[in-house]
């Protein structure tokens, strides 16, 4: 079965959820990936949506994080303040999934503005739940397409903190979670260098070269010494993905 780069990105994100208990899901690709994980290697994965649904089991990926099927299939639905205060803030959630308009070498994320804050070139949607997801989930996975416009040396606005200015930043800021341990793109997977907290390439997806990944990165991308190759999506994974996204939103 043929697959696209986005398919590979989604499948890689779903695989990364194996062995995790609870996942805080944003809308779009993270939601598809988390639902794919429930249908493949992680049937017991608890999906937590910031709209209040805990343990949702949607039959297809919702268009918004507040779709009705989330409430109907959830173990429980809580208020939005309760979700942020009782469930996210204390660090109960293993993995937070985030998208980004821009990400920098230390995995800091911008979803606020391109350009100056008061005179933006592009006004983006803003923070949403991301700053506290990035701070409080035990681990964060970032999922976005890799281009030199999105992978930038310095984000125009730090909406959510990855590793701040480098080693020690998270501790100094009192951020309880480990931060973005994986950045999953359409080209490969990046992870922070344990010594520098700078993102480096750890996996290449099928057919992608190091050169292509480096060209799609706005900084001088380092490559892990044990660079691995992502296994292509299995027939089972692809079939589950097709079932999930059939007729769904683009």
């Amino acid at each position: 079965m043929s697959f696209s780069a986005d398919d590979m990105m989604t499948v890689a994100a779903a695989r990364a959820l194996r062995g995790r208990t609870a996942c805080f899901v944003g809308i779009g690709l993270p939601s598809v990936a988390a639902n794919l994980a429930r249908r493949t290697g992680s049937p017991d994965l608890v999906l937590v949506y910031e709209s209040g649904a805990i343990g949702a089991r949607p039959t297809r990926p919702p268009l918004s994080i507040g779709d009705g099927e989330l409430a109907e299939t959830a173990d429980t639905v809580v208020s939005v303040p309760e979700m942020f205060n009782y469930w996210l803030q204390p660090g109960r959630i293993d993995v937070g999934f985030l998208g980004a308009a821009q990400i920098d070498e230390h995995a800091n994320i911008n979803t606020t503005v391109i350009g100056a804050y008061d005179t933006p070139t592009v006004r983006l949607p803003g923070a949403g739940g991301a700053p506290e997801i990035a701070a409080s989930c035990r681990e964060v996975y970032v999922v976005l397409r890799q281009t030199s416009r999105t992978f930038v040396p310095r984000v125009a606005f730090r909406t959510s903190v990855g590793y701040g200015d480098g080693p020690g930043s998270r501790a100094a800021l009192g951020l309880p979670g480990r931060g973005p341990v994986l950045v999953i793109t359409d080209l490969g997977i990046l992870a922070p260098d344990p010594a520098t907290c700078a993102l480096r390439l750890t996996h290449l997806h099928p057919g992608v070269t190091v050169e292509r990944a480096r060209a799609a990165t706005g900084w001088d991308l380092a490559v892990a010494p044990d660079l691995a190759h992502t296994p292509p999506p299995s027939a089972v994974e692809l079939a589950a993905l097709r079932t999930l996204t059939k007729g769904a939103a683009p």
């Binding site: 918004s64 507040g66 009705g68 409430a71 208020s79 303040p81 942020f84 592009v122 506290e132």
Partner: protein, 263 residues
């Protein structure tokens, strides 16, 4: 006790030029019809408050009702940008729009403080981001441990508008499904308007239902379909096509203006 009113009368009585107005509903139960009535009545200089300004706020902003937006995520969920919102921020059309933005956790706690009669709330948030330099938050130290956390000021809208599934004839309100921050937004407000799918004799108990007693609500208006194109669980589904279709209207000032004239 809440008064049962028609929507135009309720908006006329409760929403005034210059007010701070929150229309809440987290994807579900968005009070769209009430927002349209505010546009029709030509309200101006509003400070619009909402965690997730989406299509109805794009419309209010494009119609020139708003002076300021207090929010945490402004987009068309699953579709993309709110182009009227962007046009106002990026090109001041039809008016400049002052922004005060927070994270979801910050906004939710601002409503909690407002509902609780406290001047502020405390959370573990904002640290290390560029938000504090551009919004209204302050550091606060725990008097027991010394740890520094973030304080957000209470939100107390002049009027909060929500949509709910049902009310009884005495004005007690019942909503269920994803109930978001609506209880807090109503309890934090000086006045409140609840549009409902239907008025019933008795609110039979429902799993997951939130009940707002009549004596904390100012007005109730029966507006069947009042949340479209968002949804009302148990009544109708979200019209995802309408959200997608809004993108084209919103992108173009002329198309938007034509939409506004037909409203």
């Amino acid at each position: 006790m809440a008064e049962l009113m028609a929507l135009p009368e309720a908006v006329a009585a409760l929403v005034r030029d210059g007010d701070t107005v929150a229309l809440e509903g987290f994807t579900h139960l968005i009070p769209v019809a009430a927002g349209h009535e505010i546009i029709r009545q030509g309200r101006r200089d509003l400070t619009l408050v909402r965690m997730t300004p989406d299509v109805v706020y794009d419309q209010l902003i494009g119609a020139g009702c708003a002076r300021k937006l207090v929010f945490s995520w402004g987009g068309n969920p699953g579709v993309g940008s709110l182009h009227r919102f962007r046009d106002a921020v990026e090109r001041q059309w039809p008016l400049p729009l002052e922004l005060e933005e927070h994270s979801h956790a910050g906004m939710a706690n601002r409503y909690v403080a407002g509902a609780s009669g406290l001047p502020f709330a405390v959370l573990r948030g904002y640290h290390g981001t560029d938000l504090p330099a551009h919004t209204v938050v302050k550091p606060i130290a725990c008097p027991f441990t010394g740890e520094v956390l973030t304080a957000v000021p209470a939100l107390n809208p002049d009027v909060t508008v929500i949509h709910a599934q049902r009310a009884d004839r005495r004005g007690n309100v019942q909503l269920w499904g994803i109930t978001g921050v609506q209880k807090e937004a109503v309890l934090a407000a000086r006045r409140s308007l609840v549009t409902v799918e239907e008025i019933v004799d008795t609110l039979d108990p429902r799993p997951g239902a939130v009940v707002l007693p009549s004596w904390v609500v100012t007005a109730v208006a029966a507006v069947p379909g009042g949340a479209r194109p968002s949804y009302a669980q148990g009544y109708y589904d979200r019209d995802n096509d309408a959200y997608r279709a809004w993108d084209a209207v919103s992108r173009d000032r002329a198309a938007f203006t034509a939409w506004l004239e037909r409203l």
